[in-house]
Symmetry: C2
Subunit: 106 residues, 2 copies
C-alpha cells in the first residue's frame, strides 16, 4: 500500500522541470518585460517603438529583448535600419492572458 504523500511525490514535477518551469515564468516576471511582451502580443514592433510604448530607454529594451530572444520567446527580423521583434511562442500569449484575467478578478 502507498501513502498519499508517495502518490503526490510521483505526480510532482521533477526538480529539473521545476527549474525549467521557473525559467519560463521568470522571463515574464518583470514589469518592463511583461509590457514588452504584451505589446508584442498586439503587434510586431521595432525596438524604438517598443521603447516609446513602455517608456524605457532603448538600451534597456534592447537588453531585455536579447534576454527574451535567448529564452526563445521572441524572434527578430531586420528591415532597413529597424529590427522588428515578434512573439515566437504560443504559450506566452496564453500566460499573459491568464495573468490579466487574474488581475481583473482580484
Amino acid at each position: 500500500m502507498s501513502s498519499a504523500i508517495e502518490e503526490i511525490e510521483r505526480e510532482l514535477v521533477s526538480a529539473i522541470d521545476g527549474d525549467r518551469l521557473a525559467q519560463t515564468f521568470k522571463a515574464i516576471a518583470d514589469p518592463t518585460r511583461v509590457r514588452i511582451l504584451h505589446a508584442l502580443a498586439l503587434a510586431e514592433l521595432p525596438v524604438c517603438d517598443i521603447a516609446r510604448l513602455v517608456q524605457t530607454s532603448e538600451s534597456a529594451v534592447s537588453h531585455q529583448l536579447s534576454l527574451l530572444r535567448a529564452a526563445q520567446i521572441v524572434r527578430r527580423r531586420k528591415i532597413g535600419r529597424h529590427v522588428f521583434y515578434a512573439l515566437d511562442d504560443t504559450h506566452i500569449r496564453g500566460l499573459i492572458e491568464v495573468g490579466l484575467a487574474h488581475l481583473a478578478h482580484s
Copy 2:
C-alpha cells in the same frame, strides 16, 4: 486619423497593471516556489511534508510560504502542531498548467 502605434498604446497594459502582472508571475518564478505550488495544486499539505517533497529545509519552505501567503496565493490552517497550506487562487493553478503545457511542447 490615429497611427497603429497609438492604437497599441491604448490597448497596452498600464505601467501600474504591468507592475501587478509582474508581481503575480514573480510569485511563481522560482524553482522552489513553483514546486511548492504544484504540490499544493495536488493536495493540502503541512510544512514538513512540503519540505520533504521539494527537498528543501523547513525554514526555507516556511519563508517561501509566508511570501506566498502575503501575495494571497496560499492560505493556511492550523491543525494541532501542523500548519496545512493550500492554494487560495484559481488562476495560479491555470498558470502552472499552461506553463507545464509549454514544457511539454518544446
